[in-house]
Amino acid sequence: MDVEIKGNILAVVTTDEKKIMCGGVPVFLAEDKEEQEKLSLKLSKITSGTIHDLENGCYIIVSH
């Protein structure tokens, strides 16, 4: 039987390291907005997750 985890945050991509605390989710620090978008897209392609914008400098990749 395949076990699938849904509605789970797979990764956080941020430009502002002050917004992040340790929480068991991989965090990727980006230099600027452009790198953040590229990084998020790559991560979403790898994990088949969706990119959501928290509007505080953090993007999260979530599996739906």
């Binding site: 979403s44 997750g49 914008d53 993007y59 999260i60």
Partner: protein, 304 residues
Amino acid sequence: MDKYGYIIIPSILLGFLSRLSMLKVDYRQYPSYPQGVFSHVTLGLIAASLGAVAIPSLMEKEFSAVTFLSLAAQQFREVRNLERQSLEKIDETELVPRGTAYIEDISKAFEARNYMAMLTSLLVSIFITIGGRYFKTVYAMLIGIILGIIIIFLFNRTISRDTIEEIADVYPAKISFDGPLLIVNGVSIINIGYKPSRDIYLKKGIAVEIIPKDKNSMVTLSNLGQRKSIEHNVSVLLGVRKDVDQPDFSPLAARDPDTGKIVMAVVSMENDVNYLVRLVEKTIVLESAKKKPLDSYVGRKASD
């Protein structure tokens, strides 16, 4: 056989005709053509034969023959299980799944249609037997066939399902963004974080709003299975832009908690909003999603 041929043969033919009249191969490609259709045609023939021989066996005082009908019912329930299982397996390979409610509806239909074939041939054989008491054999057969055709029409009318059009009004809607939030006519649907995806939504996206006509349809439309079936239909008929690693463009239907209306935005391969409206209108209302709170005292009073 010679003795009862005039009862059995027309009954089988009409029962079979009844099954064929309910077997449509259309855009859904379910049952799949040719192999899926072939097995259902065969099952229909078996169902019709079982219905047709019941009365002649009773006339021969073979009362145990009736138990075969219950055996048949068992078989058709099995058909439903098989259909359900295979559809559930296929669903994993669909970009936009049908959802369990839709699958349940389809498998239920397959079971019911076999019963329809069986009942048609049973009724025709009863008509011919009774007719044979009063008229010549040829006239009795003719009466049976004519009544059988009427029954087929009646059955078809009874089991045909409502479409969304009958329970709700569908209008084109406008897509906008509030920051990353995808908004259709004031209802927020999902957070789209990736900017280029948002631009594609604004440039190519189409949207509809589905406004329920009364409280019954409001409850029906709130059902997740019903919404999934609409999403699936959109993906089949208009094509979707999404892929496994690009889930941003899944068609998503969200509900306005204030009014109960449903909004849906989609980026498809053919972005023509008029046809989106048409296809949503033509989507069937799932039997398992249909609720009628207005038929109850409490529901009626509460909605006053």
